[in-house]
Amino acid sequence: MESFKNIEILDLPDITSLTFKKIHRDYLKVLLGSVCLITLVVIVALFVVNYNFQEVLPDFISYVYLGLFLVFILIILFIWIGFSRRKFSIREKDISYKSGVLIKKTTTVPFSRVQHVELDEAPISRLFKLASISVFTAGDSSDDLVIKGIKKTEALKIKEFISEKINE
């Protein structure tokens, strides 16, 4: 116990002194783009409803628009702040990912526990040649490590690297 705290801890690889790398800046465009797209769809739908059922609609419909606008601004703000906090780091034996605005999260997955690696390309990301890497471990695999928004060429390299490490 004593030995662990005083001696060994000194030469342990430290997560806090790790240099994390930001994800590709094009991914911000992807995030903002998809939010705008969804908002656009909602607004068009609202407009259509508004136009066709003018007499049935209550008076406070303008407040709904206002609320929607505020939510939109808030989401954009969150994405903006959150984006610069999405960072990852790959060491020889593990992969780490940091993110979060209100709740900051850091996750580390040692390669020796990885079950499989996945590379996904979402439709909008594909326009920017971006991909996401998912790393799965055993157990409840719902929220293992996912890094979105890496250049596809880099993602492929990472995937290759991890696959090699797993098979060692």
Binding site: M1, S3, F4, K5, E8, I9, L12, P13, D14, I15, T16, K93, D94, G100, L102, I103, K104, K105, T106, T107, T108, V109, P110, F111, S112, R113, Q115, T137, A138, G139, D140, S141, S142, D144, L145
Partner: protein, 499 residues
């Protein structure tokens, strides 16, 4: 090896399996259609003879159809062993061919439900880890054949293990009826009650759905309303209700414990546990030492007096952890020295129990207070709006001290401590749970910090194992980082297999 245990060719299960499959099919249909049957019985006298005849005809044809289906199921279910794979062919129309390599097999368990007990066959289930839905059950095998199958698969699976010593040792643990009674009396009755109520609620839902379908929901609800109105107000009725609930809770704990853990016997063989238990469904489980991810030793004040505790083994789960219920293996009613022996077999725990215990930061307590009081406030306001009077406010006099007590207890019991190999985590409110987790069993590790936690410089640590998440709430960031670094280091350095 006689002809009976030759698995190189495709073989079927015992013909008695038809009966087992038939009854399980019947049970499944009954489970979804009992409400219809219930309604039918109520209307029984109103139906004309001719209609009755048709209905009985339909039921007869359906039963016959199920029988044919069971026969075909049996006919098309074939398995064999081929170069270290277990091969299974099944399916009537949609044929599936499954092949499992031996080293992917996690457990081979025997099970006997009441039908299988009556006709003396065993259900053999093969559990695998990793892949999602390859859980295979051979419904009916005679004992010697089941045993032979299991031996052939497990001998080949564990080449390192020289030979299986088949000496009948003294059981490590036997829980007889009297001890089981003791265990069930000291159970968490509140939990039993909740399970019981959930069961009732499920039935109520089904009933009210059925009435709803018939457009008679009002009848049913008004019937219940009369009941609840009569109950309302009087404290004496309240007390009687309380006593009644207590008795129900007691009985349901007893039944639950008896059903699952009847005749619990544990053997220790070749560094693995063999666990037999169950009343209606007898289960026999072999638990290998290295498959255990973590263990939890639980006790409560009364159990402590009697010197008994529970040991829960957590195994690796495949896919979602939702169906974890089946994979939890609990040994109820262990004596103190038996707990020691179990721990000794699994890992070196001496130093961790003597090492220093650290509590969570007091922020943890403040957070619990804040959340509970907020919850109570919302609960009270909603009741206020719904009931439109203040007669029930005295209820808070009981509720508030109770909540405060529970929070204090929880905070006191939440601790962590560690040595070079094992992490120890304590939790619980009235019960005390102590989790033993060897560092190298961790799959991945997470550190979480909310904005509020940031001000106090505390974080939550979440350790993900193959059997679920383990959380250490609100500890100082500096120490959390140490644990984080050390765990990662331990996992990366270990050469032992986590499973």
């Amino acid at each position: 090896m006689n002809n009976n245990s030759d698995f190189t060719e495709f073989s079927k299960q015992s013909p008695k399996g038809i009966l087992v499959i038939y009854i399980s099919l019947l049970y499944k249909t009954l489970k979804v259609s009992w409400i219809l049957l219930f309604l039918f019985l109520r209307k029984f006298s109103e139906l004309s003879n001719q209609k009755l005849f048709y209905i009985f005809m339909a039921i007869g044809v359906f039963l016959l159809f199920l029988l044919v289906r069971a026969y075909l199921d049996y006919k098309n279910f074939q398995f064999k062993i081929e170069n270290n794979h277990f091969v299974l062919k099944q399916g009537i129309l949609k044929k599936t061919n499954t092949s499992i390599p031996f080293d992917r097999i996690q457990n081979i368990n025997f099970k006997q439900n009441i039908i299988q007990q009556l006709i003396n066959v065993y259900e053999v289930s093969v559990e695998t880890a990793g892949s999602k839905d390859t859980e295979i059950a051979i419904k009916a095998l005679p004992f010697d054949k089941a045993q032979a199958l299991k031996e052939q698969m497990s001998v080949k699976a564990m080449t390192a293990e020289s030979s299986i010593i088949e000496e009948e040792k003294n059981p490590f643990l036997i829980i007889n009826f009297k001890e089981l009674l003791k265990v069930s009396l000291t159970e968490n009755h509140l939990q039993s009650l909740l399970i019981f109520i959930a069961l009732l609620f499920g039935i109520y839902q089904q009933l009210s759905d059925a009435f709803d379908g018939l457009g008679r929901k009002e009848d049913f609800d008004s019937y219940l309303d009369i009941e609840s109105n009569a109950m309302y107000g009087s404290i004496i009725v309240f007390l009687i209700l309380f006593v009644l609930l207590f008795i129900v809770a007691l009985v349901s704990s007893f039944v639950r414990i008896l059903l699952f853990h009847f005749n619990l016997t544990v053997f220790i063989k070749n560094e693995s546990f063999e666990i037999n238990q169950g009343l209606l469904t007898k289960k026999s489980i072999i638990l290998k030492k290295e498959k255990v991810q973590s263990i939890t030793v639980s006790t409560n004040p009364i159990k402590k007096k009697l010197g008994i505790s529970f040991v829960t083994f957590k195994q690796a789960v495949s896919g979602k952890v939702n169906e974890k219920k089946n994979k939890l293996i609990r040994l109820v009613g262990c004596q103190y020295h038996q707990v020691l022996q179990i721990k000794e077999l699994l890992f070196d725990f001496q130093s961790v129990e003597n090492s220093e215990k650290y509590n969570s930061n007091t922020y943890f307590k403040s957070r619990m207070y804040f959340r509970s009081f907020l919850g109570l406030l919302i609960f009270n306001s909603i009741l206020m709006v719904v009931l439109q009077n203040a007669n029930w406010l005295w209820f808070n006099l009981i509720l508030f001290p109770l909540v405060i007590l529970l929070i204090r207890l929880k905070f006191k019991k939440t601790f962590y401590s560690f040595d070079d190999e094992v992490l120890l985590i304590g939790k619980g409110r009235i019960e005390t749970h102590i989790i033993y987790l060897p560092f190298f069993k961790v799959q991945n590790i997470k550190m979480k910090q909310t904005l509020f936690q940031q001000r106090k410089d505390v974080v939550d640590i979440i350790l993900q194992t193959a059997s679920g998440k383990i959380k250490i709430p609100c500890i100082e960031k500096e120490r959390a980082t140490q644990i984080y670094n050390y765990t990662v280091y331990k996992v990366e350095k270990s050469t032992e297999l986590w499973m």
